[in-house]
């Protein structure tokens, strides 16, 4: 337990610093836009209706979806600016998170400001006109000061929302306190999950209380309270920025998707680069499409993907082929269309496979997917969030005539336990997942070869294609990791009894490889 807490503390300055920086910038933008829109809304009742409805609608978009939507949007925009102005900007991480969160924070600020200003007594407004104030003077000297307590309440709501929602920016590549939660969920590291939640809650509470002081200061016209709140906020900001975002941008950035194996491999690559004296960091928990686009756009320098993923998701191939054919096809396609270099296969494969409880499979004499087909109507199947949308699922269903009673999408960490507990009959697991051995599950054969191969391949960004030092540091990994060894490494992280961090597992893995 101690090691986990220690490693959680170690990354806190970076996570907290980035989280605060992101939240504060988003709030500042939200404040500026929200207040401006509110002033427009006060002057024009028709626009007010429109603005409140529009921002209300944005609020109903789930935070994660809003964040995810900004990534492709910015990527397209970046491509446009490159074409017309020759400038690009990073569509990964900070910018999409910032825009989504800023958009999110507008509503409470807008709504409370409009309510606050409209709530000002008409007699006072008339007096402001009568003494000779212009509309702008009336707004700034009378209406805004009188509405301030209500406006501050809106700012508090926005601040708490933004700080909470910022934890969801991890999958689009922005480091935040959410990294604890996403990593913790994947690696079954509950210390991390709790640590991330508590850190976010404490941050939100502290900021909320500082803003509450400012709010009370406005309500009671107490300068001391306002100053106290302001000093508190400044202290939070300064402290987290001083200890915070540790790096001034490492030279090499290694990517990782959002599951244990990817955390280990990203850590492994990072360690190799460090050992070769190269400055590197890794950003893990990225979405599958996000990470691919980020590599092609040179926003990350290397990551491990799987041939089947490229084959079906990006090349849109429906048929399957042998390992060698798919590998060659993927390598050539990546180079030709994206300029991505495939350094080589790591040696293991992490394919989709249908997995069952051993006792149930033996009792019903199910060894292959073909044997499973007659029972499918009585069985439920669970898969990760993308599996049932993938072409190989459709191919599989068609090839074997599968028609399950129920299909359920699940966080991949939980599905092995679910099938072991009997809550689910079949899952679409991953062949390199250590939990298959842990729960004594069986992988069903695929005699018709309808699932494509998923060899792990190390990919390099276009700008690193000719970087000899970089390549030579990573070449020792090629072809050296067996499926069995990867499964063990995965299990050592995901099984509570072992409690390895991905970094420790990576070190152990390298020791075996180097032998």
């Amino acid at each position: 337990m101690d090691a986990r807490i220690a490693s959680a503390w170690a990354v806190l300055p970076d996570y907290l610093g980035q989280h605060v920086l992101l939240s504060v910038t988003a709030l500042a933008i939200g404040l500026f836009v929200g207040l401006s829109l509110a002033i427009i809304g006060v002057w024009s009742p028709r626009l007010r209706w429109f603005l409140l409805t529009a921002t209300g609608l944005i609020q109903t978009i789930p935070g994660l979806a809003l964040l995810a939507l900004f990534y492709p949007l910015l990527l397209a925009l970046s491509a446009l600016t490159e074409r017309f102005f020759g400038v690009t900007f990073s569509a990964l991480g900070f910018l999409p998170s910032l825009l989504a969160l800023a958009l999110y924070s507008i509503l409470p600020i807008l709504r409370n400001t409009v309510t606050g200003i409209l709530g000002v007594d008409d007699a006072v407004r008339e007096a402001a006109r009568g003494v000779g104030m212009t509309p702008a003077q009336r707004l700034f000297k009378v209406e805004l000061p009188l509405a301030m307590p209500v406006i501050m309440a809106g700012i508090r709501t926005a601040a708490v929302w933004v700080i909470g929602t910022a934890t969801l920016s991890t999958p689009i590549g922005q480091t935040s306190l959410g990294n604890y939660i996403f990593t913790g969920l994947q690696t079954q590291n509950w210390v991390f999950v709790v640590f991330g939640c508590v850190a976010a809650v404490v941050l939100a509470l502290v900021v909320d209380q500082c803003l509450a002081l400012v709010e009370r200061g406005f309500a009671r016209r107490n300068t001391l309270l306002k100053a106290l709140g302001g000093v508190g906020l400044a202290a939070v900001l300064l402290a987290s920025l001083l200890v915070g975002p540790a790096r001034g941008g490492s030279h090499y950035v290694i990517g990782g998707k959002a599951f244990v194996e990817q955390y280990i491999l990203a850590a492994l690559i990072d360690e190799r680069l460090d050992a070769a004296g190269m400055d590197a960091t890794h950003r893990v928990g990225l979405g599958s499409t996000v990470i691919f686009d980020a590599l092609a756009a040179n926003e990350i320098d290397a990551y491990v993907d799987y041939t089947g993923t490229i084959w079906t998701n990006f090349m849109h191939r429906r048929e399957t082929a042998s390992h060698e054919k798919v590998l060659a096809g993927v390598g050539a396609w990546l180079k030709r269309t994206r300029g991505i270099t495939m350094l080589g296969p790591l040696g293991f494969d992490n394919a989709y496979a249908l997995v069952m409880r051993r006792d149930q499979a033996e009792r019903l004499h199910i060894h292959s997917i073909a044997d499973l087909a007659p029972y499918a109507g009585r069985f439920s199947i669970a898969g990760d969030y993308e599996f049932f949308e993938r072409p190989e699922w459709k191919a599989l269903k068609k090839a074997y005539g599968l028609n399950f009673r129920e299909t359920r999408e699940m966080q991949s960490t939980f599905m092995y336990r679910a099938v072991a507990d009997g809550a689910i009959d079949v899952i679409s697991g991953y062949t390199s997942d250590g939990q298959i051995a842990q729960y004594d599950l069986v992988v069903l054969d695929d005699p018709k070869q309808s699932l494509p191969p998923y060899d792990a391949i190390l990919l390099l960004s276009p700008r690193r294609a000719e970087d000899a030092k970089f390549r030579s540091a990573l070449e020792p990994l090629i072809g050296r990791i067996s499926t069995k060894r990867m499964r063990e490494a995965n299990l050592s992280v995901s099984r509570a009894a072992d409690q390895r961090t991905p970094e420790q597992a990576a070190e152990e893995l390298w020791r075996d490889i180097a032998k």
Binding site: D121, A123, V124, E126, A127, A128, R129, G130, V131, G132, M133, T134, Q137, V142, P145, L146, R221
Partner: protein, 266 residues
Amino acid sequence: MPTGDMDTNSATISLRDVNKSFDRGRNFAVRGVSLDIATGEFVAVVGTSGSGKTTLLKTINRLIEPTSGIITVENEDVQALDPFQLRRRIGYVFQGIGLFPHLTVAENIAVTPRLIGWAKGEIDARINELLDLVQLPRETRDRMPSTLSGGQRQRVGVARALAARPHIVLMDEPFGALDPITRDSLAREYRAVHRELGLTTVMITHDMLEAMLLADRIAVMAKGEIVEVGTPHDLLNDPKNDYVRELIDVPRRQASEVERLAGGRP
């Protein structure tokens, strides 16, 4: 350029055939009003609620724009003036006081001088001068309006109206919300200030007695029109209009009633 000095007999405020309709000419809140108010004069406009008297008052400093008619203030057509500058040079005492609740007494008084851009020291001295004038202790400078009594608040209201040394003061039922004793003393004090500073004052009231005791001249309004204008003496002795006679009769009857009660006492 016409100025007040060139022609000392000219009116400080002049209304010529002023009309105001809020519904594009179907109904008129103010109808065909013409009135000249001389420099130094105290004019009360008397009428029931809905008679258009407040609307008429607000056309003078362009809080309300008339539908037609010409209004001049110190010989300048108000339509040719910047409305904000115009309002800053005319003192205004609001119905229901209308102090800014988020500002201290001193800040309330300083509002118009600050808008005009007086120097800080000048404003500071002016605040003390005004507190003395309206007989408020200087300790009230830093108090919030909510901590003051109704009478004290209206004294601040008067001080605020006088802050930028206006020649003209408009008052919209200034003493209406006060108890009779405070009301009487405040009204008399204001009348003294009016004379002392040589102000031109237009006061709206629905109370004929108050108007008669304070004003040099009284304009009686009904249904948007001025039905009669005259000195209190004229109106008391020779009212031309039945409605005016009715209005005059009430305080007169009350006065004699009070007299009789006092006389009949053992």
